[in-house]
């Protein structure tokens, strides 16, 4: 296995995260402790080598905060929904495996979308096709194709949020054209929402 030099700037987010974990576990954010943590983080990142995560270089805090709010809201709703289903439907539950094609090709975005989905509503990623960036989700309580369509649009909405937060510029441009088309369609149909 060849080992490339990673530029320090791509390593930086990882090291900052490791230092935060170090400080949090010691419950001590004094400068001495942080510097020592930084040294350990640097040593760990270089001795125990892993391929670097390719970030897109964008991070939009304005969208990130409402996303966290939406995430926690959905988490609460989904948890109670699962509880309710387990109490009322129990063994007579009907599920489905739904394929959802995502817009983005970036590894980071497919991973975060899958992560958020596995945590949010009654959905669970069971297979990923990287070449077409398609997620195969197992969803609870899907009986009609209409339910599946709802899940699909929900997934793509989650992805749109994540693209707005940290997607690449290309993905963002794609999203904006899509929005424009949707808007034009809405106008043509006299304001009828899709």
């Amino acid at each position: 296995m060849t080992r490339e030099r990673i530029p320090f700037i791509t390593e930086l987010p990882l090291i900052i995260w490791l230092v935060i974990v170090w400080g949090a576990l010691w419950q001590d954010f004094s400068p001495g402790n942080l510097i020592f943590g930084g040294l350990i983080a640097y040593a760990v990142a270089n001795l125990l080598y892993l391929p670097p995560v390719e970030l897109s270089g964008r991070f939009n805090v304005l969208y990130a905060v409402p996303f966290v709010g939406r995430f926690i809201y959905k988490l609460v709703v989904a948890s109670f929904e699962v509880f309710w289903l387990s109490l009322t439907r129990g063994p007579r539950l009907v599920n489905a495996v739904v394929a959802v094609q995502l817009r983005s090709q970036s590894d980071l975005l497919v991973t975060t979308t899958g992560h958020a989905l596995s945590l949010i509503p009654g959905s669970l990623v069971i297979e990923v096709d990287r070449s077409t960036s398609t997620l195969y989700l197992h969803c609870l309580n899907i009986e009609t194709p209409g339910d599946a369509a709802k899940i699909r649009s929900d997934v793509r909405a989650t992805e749109a949020w994540l693209i707005r937060i940290m997607g690449t510029r290309d993905d963002l441009a794609l999203l904006q054209t899509e929005d424009r088309f949707a808007q034009e369609n809405d106008n043509r149909e006299g304001g009828v929402s899709k």
Partner: protein
């Protein structure tokens, strides 16, 4: 006065967290197949842990504590979907699920197609997306 309010909030958080644990337990008992049980096992846990950590934070009331509780929860957020995905994928591939309970299965169609296309090959069970 203030202490009573915080105690009540703590009690609510603790009860909510315990309720989520019960949700996971009942889900494990009552759902019909592995993948459905997986939903019950993964999701309520995350919310339950959040509520428990909130209760700890409310009782201790010190800002030094917030990062460690956050790290604890973020670890949970990072690990739960990965293990759920691994177990779910293993369950799907080894057919530990009841197909009669699925109303639609779009992955199965893709797998069939891939298997037919690669039929002359040596190993039809191997999926193209294996990494």
């Amino acid at each position: 006065m203030n202490d009573t309010v915080i105690d009540v909030l703590t009690a609510i958080c603790l009860l909510g967290g315990a309720l989520m644990s019960v949700a996971a337990g009942v889900g494990l008992l009552r759902f019909p197949d592995l993948l459905a049980r997986m939903h019950a096992a993964t999701k309520p846990q995350v919310l339950g842990l959040l509520l428990f950590l909130l209760a700890i934070g409310l009782q201790m009331r010190s800002w030094v504590l917030v990062p460690v509780l956050m790290v604890c929860w973020i670890f949970m957020l990072l690990t739960v979907p990965v293990s759920a995905h691994m177990v779910g994928r293993a369950g799907y591939r080894t057919k530990h699920m009841r197909r009669d309970l699925l109303s639609m299965d779009e992955l199965d169609e893709v797998v069939e197609k891939a298997a037919n296309k690669r039929a002359p090959d040596r190993n039809p069970t191997e999926r193209p997306d294996e990494t």
